[in-house]
Structure formats: C-alpha cells, structure tokens
C-alpha cells in the first residue's frame, strides 16, 4: 500500500455489492473509533484489522480488499459487530469478500469439505452406507458390552420419530467411540429420536466457503427429507456451533419453509436436567474438586441464542461438575472471544495466523487454572486442543456428553479419549 490511492472515481463497487445483499450492513457509517479492533483477536494479522478493512472498502480499494487473505483469518465471530457503535456488519462484509474469491481459489480444505457435503451428505465424503454401518456396529457393541444399555436404540430414517438429530461426521469417521455417550444420554431420557440419512452431517463448510448455493442446497435437501420423509417435529443440532448457525441462519436467510422446530442439544440437556429426566449429579467431583471452564461457541451464543444459550450451557456444566468447580473465563457469554477455530480456520491453511489468533483464548483458559474446557462445538474442540499442544498447556478439552455420562456413571472405558489420567477410571 505504498503507492498513493487515487480517489477520483469513487465507485466502491464492492461496497455497493455488499449493501445490495445486506442493506443493513451500515458500511458507510464507520466512525473509525476502533471498538472493533479492541475485541478482535484477528486484528494485526496480515497487517489488517476490521477498521482498516472497512476503510479500504469505503475508499474503493476493491482490488486490495478482494485479494486480502485476511478474510480467511477472520473467523466471522461477530464480536466486532456486537460492540460496534454504528452496527456495521463486518462479518457479512467478510463473508462477501470470501464469496468474491473465484471458487476454485478459495482454501482447498474448506472447498473440499463443502463439495464433499454436497456430493455425499457430509464433509468427510463418506458414503451414507458406511455411516449407517458404523452407527449400527457401535450401537451393537454397546448393547453387548454393557447390559444397562441392552435396549439401546439407534436408528436412521425412522419415520415418525419425534426428534431428528444430526451427527458431526468426525465421530463416525475418525472416532466412533465418541458416538456412544450422546446415545446413552438420549436413551436415559427415553428420547424418541432418529438420524436422517440425507445431509445427516452436523456441519456445513459451504457456509465457511461463502458458497450460498451450496449452503442452501444442503439445507434444503435436509429440510425436505425431514419434512417429507421423516415428519419429525423437532430437529436437534448436536454439540456443534457452526452447524447450528448454518441451519438457524440458513432457514432465515434463504427463507426456507419448514414444519419442524429447531433447537440445540444444549438446550435440551438443560431442559431434561431441570425436568429431572437426566439424573446428573456432582458427587464424583465433590472430593476431587477438579476445575472446569466453559467455552461459548460464537455461533451458538453471540450470533444466535445469546444469553439464553450461555445460561443453559453454564447451568448444564454446573449441574455436572458443581457450581464451585466452574471457573468462567473473562470475558465470557456474548462477549466471549472466539477460539480462532471458527469460520473454517482449521481447514483454511493459515495455521500460523490461526494459532496467533488463539493465543488470547489460550491465555484466558490458562488464567482460569481449569483442568478441563467443556465445549459443545467441534471446531472449538479442535482449535483448543491444538493451541494447548502448541503453547504447551496442560488442560483437556471435552464435549458435554463425556462429562455428563461420567457424572451418571455411564461412561465406558473406551469413551475417555479426551479425559486426563485424573478421570480415566472414575466410575468404572
């Protein structure tokens, strides 16, 4: 940016293009106050920050903006938008920049996952038969090895089931043992649920690729299948942030008619505990006093359900580990910092930037002195583990289902991959 910018033809095509699709983005309103930067962990990466980006857009520096790789370092976590005094929708701007890249030049990792999903119904690209086989195989093993679950029912495409649950493809493909805990929980409350076979995966990388068409296609196929083949009244998103956002926001954005209600498993956990259906207890940690902290997935909290989700999440974790053993990060809830794994960052290829981004989160976690980070999100999970290893931390990252099963003495020996030695044989 050393040569002078000529401002004689201030067309700002790119800005107008964004404003056409998002009229409420308020791009022209920037006061250059810097509030966005103060809350943005991606600031300074690649010599860019949200304020600079807006400035360049407003001065019509379209080429530089469109080329900027920063759009793939920013996770669209919306903390800037949340605090911006002028309500400038920076995340949507970044989405627009991503969308402006020629599709084939967008990061390979994200592109591949999006294409896989469109083709095979999941980001990993495994055939549906394999998914069904894995699920049945694991369920059978649980039924056989633990008599408490001899009636465990896991179905795919069971018509008339009340609940349809999606399943992040990571478990069936790379760590099938992680499938069990959630099933056990559903079994314990007697939930009437099934997996859909179409677009069954609880993820949506087309969202990160800023591929509206792909995002929409995946969602429409999914909705059609649920409404027309299964007739479930409730669709539940598994412990995953961006997938929740992809459905929640997608239904709104693409105005997709649907007959079901949509919620997250975290809200259901909270409801079931409140209703006494989930008999969780904190006894196991009474003497151990192991400290836990909670990561609020941006897509589940700040960008969608806000305080409601933050509160449910804490209520659940408190019920599992004891209120005195939950040490919150500062800040948390809607003001939480993104971990750096969102927005497709784990697949985008900017590892160095992603880790620098995650430093804030790492420091936040270490400050709590918690041994475990509970997080209902796969991308957070991956990122938190990675930065822990990278920066030499000593915490463990777990899903809610692991600790929930642990607290109800239901966690099998093979389901403890993410637990540390202190919890490796509790309740066995």
């Amino acid at each position: 940016m050393t040569s002078p910018i000529e401002l004689n033809d201030l067309y700002c095509e790119f800005k107008n293009q964004i404003l056409e699709t998002v009229p409420a983005a308020n791009l022209d309103m920037c006061l250059t106050c810097g509030t966005c930067i103060g809350g943005c962990p991606a600031s300074e990466q690649l010599n860019m920050d949200p304020r600079k980006l807006i400035r360049m857009v407003l001065l019509g520096m379209d080429e530089e903006v469109k080329k900027s790789e920063w759009a793939w370092v920013c996770t669209m976590c919306a903390r800037c938008y949340w605090e911006c005094p002028m309500k400038i929708d920076i995340p949507k701007l970044v989405y627009g920049i991503r969308a402006g890249w020629p599709r084939e030049e967008r990061p390979k990792g994200i592109l591949g996952s999006c294409d896989n999903h469109i083709r095979a119904g999941n980001a990993m690209g495994v055939p549906t038969e394999d998914f069904v086989w894995t699920v049945e195989d694991v369920a059978k093993e649980i039924r056989e090895t633990d008599h408490r679950f001899k009636d465990l029912m896991v179905t795919v495409d069971r018509k008339g089931a009340k609940i349809a649950l999606n399943q992040n493809s990571r478990e069936p493909v790379t760590e099938p043992d992680e499938l069990g805990p959630l099933w056990k929980i559903l079994n314990a409350v007697g939930a009437d649920w099934t997996y859909p076979s179409v677009m069954w995966a609880g993820e949506n990388y087309c969202l990160f690729l800023a591929d509206d068409e792909g995002w929409r296609y995946i969602l429409e196929e999914f909705v059609y299948h649920i409404d027309n083949h299964l007739g479930c009244e409730l669709v539940v998103n598994t412990e995953c942030g961006h997938s929740f956002f992809a459905i929640y926001e997608g239904l709104r954005k693409f105005k997709i008619p649907h007959k079901f209600e949509f919620t997250t498993i975290v809200s259901l956990y909270a409801r079931w505990i409140r209703e006494g259906k989930l008999k969780v207890n904190t006894n196991w940690n009474q003497d151990l006093k192991i400290k836990f902290t909670v990561q609020d997935p941006c897509n589940l909290v700040r960008k969608t359900l806000r305080e409601e989700a933050a509160e449910d999440l804490r209520f659940v974790v408190r019920s599992l580990v004891g209120a005195e053993n939950l040490i919150d990060m500062v800040p948390h809830g809607t003001n939480n910092y993104c971990c750096g794994g969102g927005g497709g960052a784990l697949q985008a290829g900017f590892s160095e930037q992603r880790r620098t981004y995650g430093r804030i989160k790492y420091d936040q976690i270490m400050k709590t002195e918690a041994k475990y980070v509970v997080v209902p999100c796969h991308n957070c999970h991956g990122q938190l583990e990675d930065i822990c290893k990278y920066y030499g931390g000593d915490y463990h990252v777990v899903h809610i289902w692991t600790i929930m099963c642990l607290s109800m003495d239901m966690l099998g020996e093979n389901e403890r991959t993410y637990l540390g030695p202190d919890l490796s044989d509790i309740g066995l």
């Binding site: 050393t2 022209d28 250059t32 106050c33 103060g38 809350g39 809607t334």
Partner: protein, 1035 residues
C-alpha cells in the same frame, strides 16, 4: 379567565382577589439551574412564579457536580447563592417533591394540577435541625451520592437544599413495616407527620416553562460496560461525587472495592452516546469531552502523580475556551489521549483492577490494566419524559427531547409553553442558563399586560443603628468543601481568629453559603449582638450580595461586612504549601477584621431606569432581541453599521435543520420595520456613550443624522466576520471557495458546482491554530449541510471532507451520520500533516486541483483531482467589536470575542451593568443558538427595564470640603462625569454626584490632599487593613 380578566377594568384587583387562590403568572417545571434562572429572571421582571420540582430540593444535576468546566469553579459554590435567592424571593412560590398532573387551558390561562408527594414532614414546622436524622435507625444508599455512600431514611437531600427541611424516604421502617416512629418522638417542633397524604393543588398561570433537564445514561443497558458488576467501573457522575468534598469519601477519590486511592485511571468517552446500539443514544451528548478533561485536571489536583488515560474518538472542544482547556489537559504530565474506543476485558479477582483492550494507530492492539475506569456517560432525557410530554400536551423528538420550532428553539408545539435547558437537547450549563432567560423573555412577551400586578417587593426588618456601639465582630471561616479545608488548617485559623481584637464570635462551616449557614449567621447577629461580620471564604464577585443580604435580613447595615478571600487568594494559589497557606489565611482574616472595625453604614441609591433600550447590531440576534423587548412594550433603538439588516445570515440560505434562512430573514426584517416601538438606524456609528446602568446616553451618527439616545440598557449583538483564508490559493483560484461562498453557489445553481465530479472540503482553516486558538464551532455543521445538499442534487458527486475532529455535537450528529450514509467520505488529517493542494493540468488539458493527503488509518497517501475546494474558514471577531467595547467599557476575551460576566452563570451579562450580550459577538454559534441567546439577552435586559429603579451601590466618593483645595485634578479623572467643581465661598471645591459615581476610585488617586475619599474603601479602612497585614495592631 384570560378573557374575563382582559375585560375586567380593574386588573390589579382581579388578580389580587385570586392571589390567595394559587393565581400566578408563570409556572416553571424543573428546578435545575435552568429553571432557577428562569424563576429569578421572571421574579425580577415583575412576574409571580410557581416553581415546581419533583425531587425534595431544587438544584438539579448541577448540584451533583464537583466543579464546572472550563473555569473549574466549584459547582455548588456558584449555584447555591441562587438557591438562597430563590428562597428569599417574594415572587417565587416553590413547590418541591411535586409533579404536574394535568394542564388545561391555553396560553394566558392555564389551569395546572400539581400533585405534592407526601414527605411526611411539615415544611412549615421543620427547622432543618436534623436531630431526627441522627436518631433514624435506617441506612440506605444515598441518591445524592450516586448510591455510593449511605444516608438515613429521613434526611435532608444535601446541606444546601431548598427548602432546608427533611423528607422521609420509602426505606422508612414505619412506612414499610409499621414500626419505629423514633423521629416523631425526637422532633422538638412536631414536624413529623405520618398522616400526611399526597395533595393536589390547582394553580392558574399564564405561561409555562419546561425545564425537566437530563439524566445520565445508565450503562447497565449494555452489559459490556460491566457497570454494577465490576466495583471499579464507575460513571462520570459517580466520579464527580467521588471528587467532591461533600461526596461519599469527603473528597477523597477512593475505590469502593478497597478504599484505596486509584493512581491509574482510564476514561471511556461516548458511553451510551454516538451509538446505534439498542439502549444507547445515537446523538452526541455535547458535554462529555470537556467534563472528562475537567475530571482529569481535578484528578491531578488530588494526586499530582496520577496517570490518566482518555480513550476517545473525536475530541469535541467546540465551546468558548474549550480548546485551551483541552490543551491545558493534554499538557499535564502523565496524561494520555488515545484515539480508540476500548473493550473492558476483565476484572482482576484479587486486586479488582480493570483490564482494557484497545487499538493503537500503528502499534497494534494492547491490553492494559487500570485501577479505575470512568465511563463518560452521556445525557439522556428523563426516564418518564413520555408521560411528562403527555401531561403538557407537547411533542417529543425521536430522541425524547422537546420538539421545538425551527425558527425558535424555545417554543414547544403548544403555544404558551416554552422549553428551557437540556430539554431542547444535550447542552452545557451556560446554554441552559441563557435559554432560561430567553424562555422568560418569551413569557414576558405574552404576559406583558399583567407584569407587576402580582409581584411583591422584598421586605426587610428595620435597620438597627449600631454606629455608636463598640465593634463586635463575628468571623465565619468556610471550608468550601475541600477547596479551602484541604489546604488551610481551618480549625487552627478559627482558634487564631478568636484571639483577634473585637472578635466576639468565630465559627467554621463546610459551606458558609448554604441556606442553613446563612440562617445561622443571621441568628448569631441577633442573638450574639454582632455588628460586624467577616466571612473568610471565597470571592465577593459571586458571594458578597448573598451575605450583604443576610446582614440586611438580620437588621444591620449590609456595609458592615467584609469578605476575606482565603480561597482564590490563598488555598487555590498555594495548594502545595499547606502551612504557609494557613499562615496567610490568618493574615488575611486579621487584615479583614481590622478593616471591618472602621466600616461605616452606607445608604444605597435608587436610580431611575430609562425604559428605552438600544441594540447594537442588526443581525438575527440583534433583531430577535429588539423584537422581544419591543413586544414587552419597551422602545428599542436598533443600530446597524451596514446599509441593510441581516448581518452574516444574509450570506446563508438554509440551516442544517432545513430552515429557509432567506425567508426567515426577510420576515424578521419586516417585523422589525413594522414594529411601532423599534427604531432602526442604518449606516450607523456610535460616537459616544455616557451614563450608567438605567441612564445611558448614546450618540450616534446614521442615515437619520446625529441622534442622542437616552436608554436604560443596551444589548450588544455586533456579530462576527469570516476569516479570509491565506492558504490553499484562496483568492488566486476561483475554484477555491469558503463554505459560505459554496452555499451561495449551490443555491444560485452554479453549473460548475453541480457538474463537479470531486469536491473536497477542508476543515479548520484559520481555526485551532496559533493565531486563533479556538474552534469556530459551526464549520462542521456548515460543511455537512453543504455536503448533504450537494448529494441531494447530484448523488454521484464525490465529496471528501478533510477534518481534524468531527465536531457535530449534540443532535447534529444525526446529520453527520446521514452524510456518511450518503457516501460523503470523511478523512481525518493531522495538523502536522495537512492536505496539500497543487494546481496541475490533466492529459486532456483540464486543469485540476490535486489534493494530496495522508489516509491516517491506512498510513498511505491519497490523491484527489478536485474540481472545487471548499474551505471551512474560521469565524473571527467583528472588526468593530474593539470600538464598541471601549465605548461601553466592556471586556474582551483572549480570542477577541466579548467576555461575559461569568462563563457559567451569567452568559449574556457583561460585568458592566445594564449591558447584555448575544449572538456571534459572544462566540461563533449556529442560528438557532443565536436566537436562543438573543431571547436570553432580552430576558436579562427586562429584569432591569421592568423596574422603575435600580439600586446603586452606597460605595461612592465624597469630598471633605475642608480639605479640598480646588485644584481640579479629580474631575477629568472621572469617566462618568460624577465629579464637578463648584464655586463656593471658599473658592472652587469639588463635589460628587453620588448617582453618577461608580466607585472606581480613580479620582482618589489624583487628589493631592486626600480630600476625596471612596466610601467603604477609605484611607482609614485600607490603612488599617495594611497595617494589620504588617502585624501592627491598629484596631
């Protein structure tokens, strides 16, 4: 009733018959500084006022402040004399703890229902002794101290409260649980009355002034501020109380978490202002930038090593002397202004320190820990403003402020109801005060026919002759909160004063100006037989009238009083030397006591007031002021130096709000010409001004020839000029214009403007520089206005505004936002790296103006080929202002604008009595602001003109005939013509015409024999004072 009354032949009797029946002239709703000013002005101008306040005392937000910018006067010190004045005023009927329930009728005849809340204390019986407070067992968070400290369920709101009586809060045990009633038992006057119920009173008035004021924005609306959650995040109003001597920690700035002094404090500007977010206000609150600077300066006074950091966006130092104030703050050691908003990250669980995260320009994002964070909260309309507006039947803006007429910011949507103070929108104290005087003038216009019918003169007890008594001096030493007490050892001074000759009584007081203390002083005079009083406190400039009045109330001559200024002359200037300051305070008091022994009782003079008035300057301000006074039946002589009326406004076409200035101006000029009581003099120069308040004679040369005009008062509205830029090829290239030229060009539909592709505007041309160290205030609005107009005409036009700080203060922020939204590009520049303009030729032969500047965020150069460049040229003092100043003996400030009598509380008065100020002669301002101030000047002038006499000081010169040798040296020294030489049997002797003498003492210094002496400052009095200063006891 209005019609009935007009028809009645005997109006006085008609009114009198209703006097007891709650019949008044004007009702003022809201007892802040604006309401107070309106009440006092109307009371002085001969109207009976009903003054309604919803809290238990008048005072408003100003009473909660520690100091006021930019003079850092003690807020309570300058406001509380006005409380006392209100209380003592025979024409002001005060109803506190009361709210208006309904308003029926129309202008001239309103029937207002006022509900008085039960305070469970009989105001007529309560003496304010506070025994009940001592015994009350209930402690609850004190609203006066922002709930930081605690108070009792029964208490006085603050010690200067008016009325000075207790009230019982809803936290009272008896009210809540039906037990206790201890206060009832201990009250010696049986003032506690739990049977009290709310009471509704019906009051009839002719006009209403609404001055409900503002509330501070509540940061709890936005969780990211963590207010109420983190102990050491406070609001600026909390901080104001922390700074204040009457605050929760007696003037020590302490953290509530650990009661330790914070040393490293951050301020976050625009809290709740300039935010589009839900719960926030999108407008600019107009006062926060400057009040923060004040708080920083005061913090450094409290703790010289304190580190202060201000996180801000634009610094809006747009008011008079604000720019200097900003520079003063910036230059203090340990102060950082950081242009970035910030995020409150966390509170340290152990130290309770607060971490902020912010961006720097070029140095990345930083996290930093502070001991305390102050949220510079904005101003918001009162929470119940909607109900309030409904009761009065007036409309509100979308921001919740009062909808006012585009041509008159004081008029609400209901005739006869006027808006005063921050109800119009965010504003500071002087604007609240002058708009109050303006609203009073508008009331005067519609009620002129009944002026003086209901008003009563002030009654004093007969004066006791003490001239033959031995001096018995009472000395009262004031702590002035902490202003004096923190530096001067007051108890030691008191003990010392007791040893002084003739001193029979000494007391100390936290605030001697409080109603309570003044009442005590009067009581001491009577009970302890005092015949002389020394108040060792602050300046006679603000407080002498109050104490003189107190002496009169106690039945002794007010000239038996002396003020020992141990604040301005001692504690403020010697704040680092406590011991020496205490010694000096003792010296000052000793000197004062010595002088007091020699004081004589003096008579004051009633001077007749000539009812005509002259207005100097025929611009908008002058014409408005002239019409307002003429509408109140005063003859007005309007003097204009040009050949036509209109002033600078002739060059304007529209205001930002869309007022058609041409039309407005021609209507106004027509009204002026048509008014039978307004006489216009064009092409006029004033050649001589003689006389004094109430009796001026001004000689003018004009299109009507030479005239000698007799008048009682004068309004100076000489306006301002526009600076002719010397920079950027101005006047060398016709494509470079001032914003005023551009406006004219836009309206005359100049093609070159309409066809321009790129228009560049550059702000601060000739302002905020060494030569003119002030902000011209109106340039941003002017540029935004032109930019919006151009975008309306040609949306494809590129408009770039280069600015240093966008100062679209108050509601004008809306227009800045609108301009941004329409694609006007705002580019900040640094004064050390100004945009550069070069004239060049393009390849196609067109000549262009190449503007090169640094884009400060991206750090890169930008270039624009401008077709037109508009310069926001400074507003400069009018060339004639020096001349007029000399003629009327007026003060001029450092920037060449007229200096008002007091920046905060007398914004349209001059120190020279009988002369008032308005419009751009005071400081650059927008049309609406000029209109408001013009009405204000009229309102103030009416407080003089409405009366038949004005009281002149008894401190005048007199000649000892025996000593006079008739040399005649004295007479030419007198600029008022008060000294005359007369032939007597003993040859020529001088004599003084007392009504003409202003007591300046110039003649004294010329007299070789000491025959001519100034009363109250005689040689004997002054010598005794000096000798006492030299430690010679002469008493």
């Amino acid at each position: 009733m209005y019609k009935e009354m007009a028809a009645s032949e005997n109006i006085p009797q008609f009114c009198k018959s209703r006097y007891e029946n709650n019949f008044g002239d004007v009702m003022i709703v809201g007892g802040g500084i604006s309401g107070i000013q309106a009440a006092l002005d109307l009371g002085a101008a001969g109207f009976k006022v009903y003054f309604i306040e919803k809290s238990p005392t008048i005072g408003g937000k100003m009473a909660h402040l520690d100091k006021t910018f930019p003079t850092n006067d003690c807020s309570m010190c300058i406001e509380s004399p006005k409380f006392v004045e209100c209380k003592r005023h025979p024409n002001i009927e005060l109803l506190t703890y009361a709210q208006v329930e309904s308003v029926m009728g129309e202008a001239g005849d309103f029937t207002v229902k006022v509900a008085k809340k039960a305070r469970y204390v009989d105001e007529s019986k309560c003496t304010g002794c506070t025994v009940c407070v001592e015994y009350c067992p209930v402690m609850y968070p004190d609203p006066f101290n922002q709930h930081i400290s605690r108070n009792k369920a029964i208490h006085i709101y603050f010690s200067q409260a008016i009325p000075l009586v207790t009230y019982i809060d809803e936290s009272c045990l008896y009210l809540k649980e039906g037990k206790c009633r201890i206060c009832e038992g201990v009250c010696k006057t049986n003032a506690i009355d739990f049977a009290q119920t709310p009471e509704t009173i019906e009051i009839h008035v002719g006009a209403i002034i609404l001055a409900p004021g503002i509330e501070a924005f509540d940061p709890r609306y936005r969780e990211e501020y963590h207010y109420g959650e983190y102990a050491n995040v406070v609001t600026a109003l909390d901080y104001e109380r922390l700074l204040c001597a009457t605050g929760p920690y007696e003037g020590e700035i302490l953290r509530t978490s650990d009661k330790k002094h914070p040393h490293n404090i951050a301020w976050i500007q625009c809290t709740g202002s300039r935010h589009q977010l839900e719960g926030c206000n999108s407008y600019c609150s107009a006062v926060c930038c400057t009040y923060t600077q004040k708080q920083v300066i005061l913090t450094k006074d409290h703790d010289a090593d304190a580190k202060c950091t201000i996180f801000h966006n634009d610094i809006r130092s747009y008011g008079k002397d604000f720019e200097r104030f900003y520079q003063r703050t910036e230059k203090l050691p340990g102060i950082r202004f950081i242009r970035s908003f910030t995020s409150i990250v966390k509170e340290d669980p152990l130290t309770k320190n607060i971490t902020l995260r912010y961006s720097t320009n070029g140095n990345g994002v930083k996290e930093e820990e502070f001991d305390m964070v102050v949220l510079s909260v904005g101003l918001a309309p009162p929470a119940d403003v909607k109900t309030f507006a409904d009761v009065f039947g007036i409309e509100l803006t979308r921001h919740g402020f009062c909808v006012t007429s585009p041509s008159n910011p004081l008029e609400t949507t209901r005739p006869g109801i006027f808006a005063s103070g921050a109800f119009q929108g965010p504003m500071d104290i002087p604007e609240s005060v002058l708009s109050a005087s303006g609203a009073a003038s508008l009331c005067g216009e519609i009620l002129s026919y009944r002026r003086g019918k209901l008003s009563k003169p002030r009654a004093y007890p007969p004066e006791r002759d003490v001239s033959q008594e031995e001096p018995r001096i009472g000395v009262y030493v004031c702590h002035c909160g902490a202003n004096i007490g923190r530096i001067v050892n007051v108890p030691e001074t008191v003990e010392y004063s007791k040893t002084l000759p003739n001193v029979v009584h000494v007391e100390e007081n936290l605030f001697i100006c409080s109603t309570e203390a003044a009442a005590m002083l009067a009581k001491d005079i009577q009970e302890k037989g005092l015949n002389r009083v020394v108040v060792a406190a602050c300046t006679p400039r603000t407080h002498e009238p109050l104490f003189r009045d107190t002496l009169r109330e106690a039945g002794i001559n007010p000239y038996y009083y002396d003020m020992a200024n141990i604040r301005e002359h001692c504690s403020w200037v010697h704040s680092k030397e406590k011991e020496a300051a205490t010694k000096k305070a003792k010296d000052i008091i000793r000197m004062s006591a010595a002088r007091t022994c020699h004081l004589e009782p003096l008579r004051e003079f009633d001077l007749p007031v000539h009812k005509a008035v002259i207005v100097v300057g025929g611009g908008i301000s002058g014409m408005i002021s002239a019409l307002s006074m003429a509408n109140q039946r005063h003859e007005v002589h309007l003097i204009e130096k040009e050949k036509q009326l209109g002033g600078l406004a002739r060059r304007l076409r529209a205001t930002l709000e869309g007022l058609d200035v041409r039309k407005y101006l021609s209507d106004l000029i027509e009204k002026v010409y048509r008014h039978p009581l307004v006489h216009v003099y064009m092409d006029a120069t004033i050649t001589e001004v003689t006389g004094y308040v109430g009796n001026f004679v001004t000689k003018i040369k004009s299109d009507r020839g030479v005239a000698n005009i007799k008048h009682g008062a004068a309004v100076v509205a000489t306006g301002a000029d526009v600076h002719r830029p010397t920079e950027y090829f101005f006047e060398q290239d016709e494509r470079i214009l001032t914003q005023l030229d551009l406006e004219e060009n836009i309206f005359s539909k100049e093609e070159r403007i309409f066809d321009a592709k790129n228009i560049v505007m550059i702000q601060c041309i000739g302002s905020r520089c060494e030569e003119r160290n002030y902000c011209s205030r109106i340039c941003r609005s002017q540029s935004v206005k032109n930019a919006l107009k151009l975008k309306e005409i040609n949306p494809a036009m590129n408009i770039y505004i280069f600015f240093r700080d966008m100062r679209t203060y108050g509601i004008k922020e809306d227009y800045y936002r609108e301009a941004s939204d329409r694609g006007v590009r705002f580019i900040r520049y640094d004064p050390t790296d100004k945009p550069v303009v070069a004239r060049g030729r393009l390849e196609d032969g067109r000549t262009v103006l190449k503007v090169t500047a640094t884009e400060h965020l991206l750090g890169t150069k930008i270039e624009i080929d401008a077709d037109i460049i508009a310069l926001a040229a400074a507003i400069i003092p009018s060339a004639r202002s020096q001349e007029v100043a000399k003629l009327f003996k007026l003060a001029i400030g450092p920037d060449g604008f007229y200096q008002e009598a007091h920046v905060k509380l007398r914004p349209v008065d001059f120190a020279a009595e009988g002369v008032y100020l308005c419009g751009m002669a005071h400081y650059p301002k927008l049309i609406s602001e000029s209109i408001s101030q013009a009405y204000g000047a009229a309102g103030r002038a009416l407080t003089l003109l409405s009366n038949d006499t004005v009281v002149a000081s008894g401190s005048v010169c007199a000649v000892n005939k025996k000593m006079c040798i008739g040399c005649g040296a004295c007479a030419p020294a007198c600029t008022y013509g008060a000294v005359q030489l007369q032939e007597t049997k003993r040859g020529k002797t001088a004599s003084v015409i007392p009504v003409l003498c202003k007591g300046c003492g110039l003649c004294n210094s010329k007299c070789p024999t000491g025959a001519i002496q100034l009363k109250h400052y005689t040689d004997e009095e002054i010598a005794s004072q000096i000798l006492a200063g030299l430690n010679h006891n002469v008493a």
